[in-house]
């Protein structure tokens, strides 16, 4: 009788341990072993903004370094944003100098309150799992995609969820904001691929 009871207890303990391990596995992000993004990465951004009938399409490239990211939109108009741990800074009086790596110049002023956004984007692109673990809960959705749900301020005040997809490298980032705005960012370290679906997206007529 005693042996039977011990066996049942051992079985229960094992189940508990397995369950705990499963929980731990779920609560800690284990992103796939994607190839890291560095240097110049082309992007296409589709911004679905509430109130607009069509998404806003833009394209350009990212220049990724250790602690900062230059977001250079080339179409529909040239615009540069510097993203770092300090925040998101709109570069003013800037332009691309003649250098091959497209380094931007000009002054910048961080948007107040955007620090967490800057840290978030850097963490996602550079796969800083420690940061992501601090603010998100990971769920696997499909073969190559992971859904991250924020559980801590201030991230949870901006976004309801973030979806990351990719095969060998991170290919898409889908950000869903509380106000219903959605941003789809497609990344490509190859040549620029600009999708021009006729009449589907907003284009700016430059003067």
């Amino acid at each position: 009788m005693k042996a039977k009871q011990l066996l049942i207890l051992a079985g229960a303990l094992s189940c508990c341990l397995l369950f705990a391990a499963a929980l731990a596995a779920d609560s800690e992000i284990q992103l796939p072993d994607w190839q890291g993004l560095d240097g110049r990465v082309n992007f296409t951004q589709h911004k679905h903004i509430s109130g607009l009938k069509k998404p806003v399409l833009s394209s350009g490239y990212l220049l990724l370094e250790d602690e900062q990211l230059l977001w250079h939109t080339q179409k529909p108009l040239s615009s540069q944003v510097l993203i770092s741990a300090v925040g998101v800074s709109q570069l003013t009086d800037g332009g691309i100098d003649g250098s091959a790596d497209g380094t931007a110049n000009g002054s910048s002023e961080a948007i107040a309150g955007s620090e967490i956004i800057g840290q978030l984007l850097l963490a996602v692109l550079q796969q800083r799992t420690a940061f992501l673990n601090q603010y998100f809960t990971l769920t696997s959705v499909g073969e190559d995609c992971f859904e991250l749900r924020p559980h801590q301020p201030p991230v949870d005040q901006f976004f309801t969820q973030m979806t990351l997809c990719g095969d060998q490298t991170l290919n898409t980032i889908n950000l869903l904001e509380h106000n219903g705005n959605r941003t789809l960012i497609e990344l490509n370290q190859a040549a620029i691929k600009v999708e021009e679906e006729a009449g589907a997206d907003i284009e700016v007529k430059t003067e």
Partner: protein, 759 residues
């Protein structure tokens, strides 16, 4: 019979004094801030602002450590344990609150830059700016493009900051990095005045205990403190320990002296009685006239001990000879009392609360000391009852002989030479500083911590403000908006580097309406219409209501202060560097800029520290005049009793003591302050006392004994004060010490000039 009646009256009055103390003392709130004892601002609205200004209740804790330290966890624990009477600021919540408010009023708020573009019809620039914002990956306000297609309010919100430099709003406070260390700045406000010693001490002790516990867990954790609270606690601790130390040491040394001279404890008891009656009476007088006395008044009260002991020595020495000798001593004691009272009571007319308190304390105590000596000593001391030690008698007789041998012309010559040296040194070298910051000294560790907090830009605002006075909030906001171009101009000229006004957070209704009108025009323009068409947006409808300052309570209460029937709005300034009067010099002394500020009669320059410095300067000048007046009146009073020759000699002698003490203090301290001058008043009082007795017909050995004892005890008491860590107290002590020494040294020359008959 009469003597018994006097004793009963004296004791009766003293019992009343004790009853008064018993009633008042438990309820009294002692002030320990030097700046609180300073003269108040001139204008009534300035006085109200100072009274209601809560900036002294703010304090900060800068947590720092390597990345291994969980600063958020540390912050959480600290905030949990320090809750009573403390409201912790949450910058992130503030920004979120701002966002929520602005969310509802999109299209009604715009930055100054966009306002200018809009007013000039430069719509292309606005559209370009809006496009850049749309294309940025950063999130936007809800319905931003529908309500405000040009994203003016979105960008207006993003320009709002808390005035922070290297730090950014985070969950528990402001976070950032300093070198390789992470930092987290916590800020809070006290519910009580930081000068309420008991509560402040409890908070400080609790904080220290918490930090010690947290350091056991995180040895690399560093906590820097900033705020008036910590300076007040340090100052109070210093004042308490110094009062105990100096008072105790003074008493001990006086005791030893009495035992050595009189070889008996009875003189100690007799002086103790006089000191007890005088100190309690002085304290009662202080509490009767000043409901919130300053603790520094008690520190200066050690001066009363010196003078009270002086009276008791004169009483003891003369009563010990005979009752008749005591009676013949009384006129000199009375003259000394009157001249001293005259000098101190003049202080009451100065608009300086601390000096008034000192004057009342000492005047009350002196009268009590005099009366207790007069009434009690003939009753308590019989002739020959106090044996004076042989060596004391020998020394005093020897000195008396030497003085007797000094010729009159020699004494006059010495006095003249000494007065030339003393007055000449003073006039040639004296440098007064009137900065209120010179009165107090922050402990080095605390000053360093304060600097580290400020370097991170957590408190970028100077202690000088512009104040807008108006009848209501709308008028205040309109005034501030009219002032903005001037502030920008001063910023470009480098007079200031930044500012924060209430109108930066919430524009006036007038401005909001004007923005709506300009936007209406903009939406009709072809280029903006094209922009709207590209986005597929309709022209937004005009706003139905305005953003009210009442919606942003947390921000309005930082700036708005009711003063009487008006409202005062504080505009915080930064980058007004260097001398406290730089901006004032730039604005006020430069006529063009002064005229520019004069265009706004409702806008005022407010510099509490600078005003205090100016007040100190005025008071010092007035005090100098009062001192000379007191000197003149005292000498006049003396001349009525002593005649012209002795009065003239007394005048020279007093100048030696007063000017000499200041010259010595200047040499030792490199600068003089108001408190050196206050000390000169006491030097005058003591020196007068010595002069009166040396000019009297009392036997010289007795006078020498009494004056020597008095000078030694005063020298000890005030010499100890010169070791105080508080510069104001140290200055006071040093001047009195040197003045008493000079007075005791030169006083015998008066008896040479007097041509005294009896020896």
């Amino acid at each position: 019979m009469i003597r018994h009646a006097r004793i009963i009256c004296l004791l009766g009055v003293w019992i009343l004094v004790l009853l008064l103390l018993g009633l008042k003392l438990p309820q009294v709130v002692w002030n320990s801030s030097i700046t609180a004892a300073l003269p108040s601002a001139q204008e009534p609205w300035q006085q109200q602002l100072l009274k209601q200004n809560r900036s002294s209740r703010q304090f900060s804790l800068l947590l720092s450590g390597p990345d291994t330290v969980d600063l958020q966890g540390v912050a959480q624990q600290l905030q949990q344990h320090l809750q009573e009477g403390v409201t912790w600021h949450q910058p992130l919540e503030l920004m979120q609150m701002l966002q929520q408010q602005y969310q509802a009023y999109q299209g009604q708020l715009a930055s100054d830059e966009h306002w200018d573009l809009l007013s000039r019809g430069e719509y292309e620039a606005l559209i370009q700016s809006a496009w850049q914002r749309i294309l940025s990956p950063a999130p936007m306000l809800d319905q931003a493009l529908v309500l405000d297609p040009l994203l003016l309010t979105q960008q207006y919100l993003e320009q709002q900051s808390g005035g922070y430099r290297q730090l950014r709003p985070a969950l528990m406070g402001l976070e950032g990095r300093s070198g390789d260390r992470a930092v987290l700045l916590l800020s809070a406000e006290l519910a009580y005045d930081p000068f309420e010693r008991q509560q402040a001490q409890i908070l400080d002790d609790t904080l220290t205990r918490q930090i010690d516990e947290l350091r056991r867990q995180w040895p690399d954790l560093q906590v820097n403190r900033s705020g008036v609270l910590f300076h007040a606690v340090a100052a109070a601790q210093t004042a308490r320990s110094e009062m105990t130390l100096f008072g105790g040491l003074s008493a001990l040394i006086i005791l030893l002296m009495l035992v050595l001279v009189f070889r008996s404890l009875k003189p100690l008891l007799l002086s103790g009685v006089v000191m007890l009656i005088s100190v309690t009476t002085g304290l009662a007088a202080l509490l009767l006239f000043f409901p919130q006395p300053h603790i520094l008044a008690l520190v200066f009260a050690t001066t009363l001990i010196g003078i009270a002991v002086d009276y008791s020595f004169h009483g003891m020495v003369s009563a010990n000879q005979s009752a008749e000798r005591f009676r013949s001593m009384l006129p000199s004691l009375t003259l000394g009392l009157l001249s001293t009272l005259l000098g101190y009571l003049l202080l009451i007319w100065l608009p300086f609360s601390l000096l008034q308190q000192v004057a009342v304390f000492i005047a009350g105590g002196l009268v009590a000391a005099y009366l207790s000596v007069w009434v009690l000593y003939p009753y308590l001391i019989k002739a020959g009852q106090l044996p004076v030690s042989r060596w004391a008698c020998a020394v005093s007789h020897h000195l008396a002989l030497r003085i007797d041998r000094t010729r009159r012309h020699q004494a006059i010559f010495l006095l003249l030479v000494a007065v030339v040296i003393a007055v000449g040194s003073y006039l040639a070298n004296s440098v007064f500083t009137d900065s209120v910051r010179a009165f107090n000294q922050t402990p080095a560790l605390l000053a360093e911590q304060e600097l580290q907090v400020r370097q991170l830009g957590a408190q970028p605002w100077n202690s000088r403000f512009l104040v807008v006075l108006a009848d209501d909030i709308e008028a205040v906001l309109q005034q501030e908006e009219m002032l903005k171009p001037q502030l920008r101009q001063w910023q470009q000229q480098g007079v200031l580097s930044g500012w924060q006004a209430l109108s930066d957070r919430v524009p006036s209704h007038e401005r909001q309406a004007a923005l709506q009108q300009m936007l209406g025009q903009a939406y009709q323009s072809p280029v903006v219409q094209q922009f709207l068409d590209e986005l597929g947006l309709e022209t937004p409808p005009p706003a139905l209501s305005n953003l009210d300052p009442e919606s942003l309570q947390l921000f309005t209460q930082q700036h708005l202060v009711p003063v009487g029937e008006q409202l005062a709005s504080l505009i915080f300034l930064s980058g007004v560097e260097g001398d406290a009067h730089v901006m004032q010099d730039s604005v006020m002394q430069d006529r063009v800029m002064k005229e520019e500020l004069d265009k706004w009669p409702q806008v005022h320059w407010f510099d509490p520290v600078g005003d205090a410095d100016n007040s100190i300067s005025e008071i010092r000048e007035q005090l100098g005049i009062w001192i000379l007046l007191a000197l003149g009146l005292s000498v006049l009073l003396l001349s009525w009793r002593l005649g012209p020759a002795r009065s003239a000699a007394t005048l020279l002698y007093l100048l030696i003591a007063m000017a000499g003490s200041l010259a010595f203090s200047q040499w030792f301290q490199s600068q003089l302050t108001l408190f050196n001058l206050v000390a000169v008043l006491l030097v005058l009082a003591l020196a007068l006392d010595y002069a009166v007795f040396f000019a009297s017909e009392l036997p010289l050995p007795e006078v020498i004994q009494a004056v020597s004892l008095s000078a030694l005890t005063s020298g000890v008491a005030f010499g100890l004060l010169s070791f105080s860590q508080t510069p104001a107290i140290a200055a006071f002590g040093l001047t009195v010490f040197s003045g008493v020494a000079l007075a005791a040294l030169f006083a015998p020359l008066i008896s040479c000039i007097s041509g005294r008959g009896k020896r």
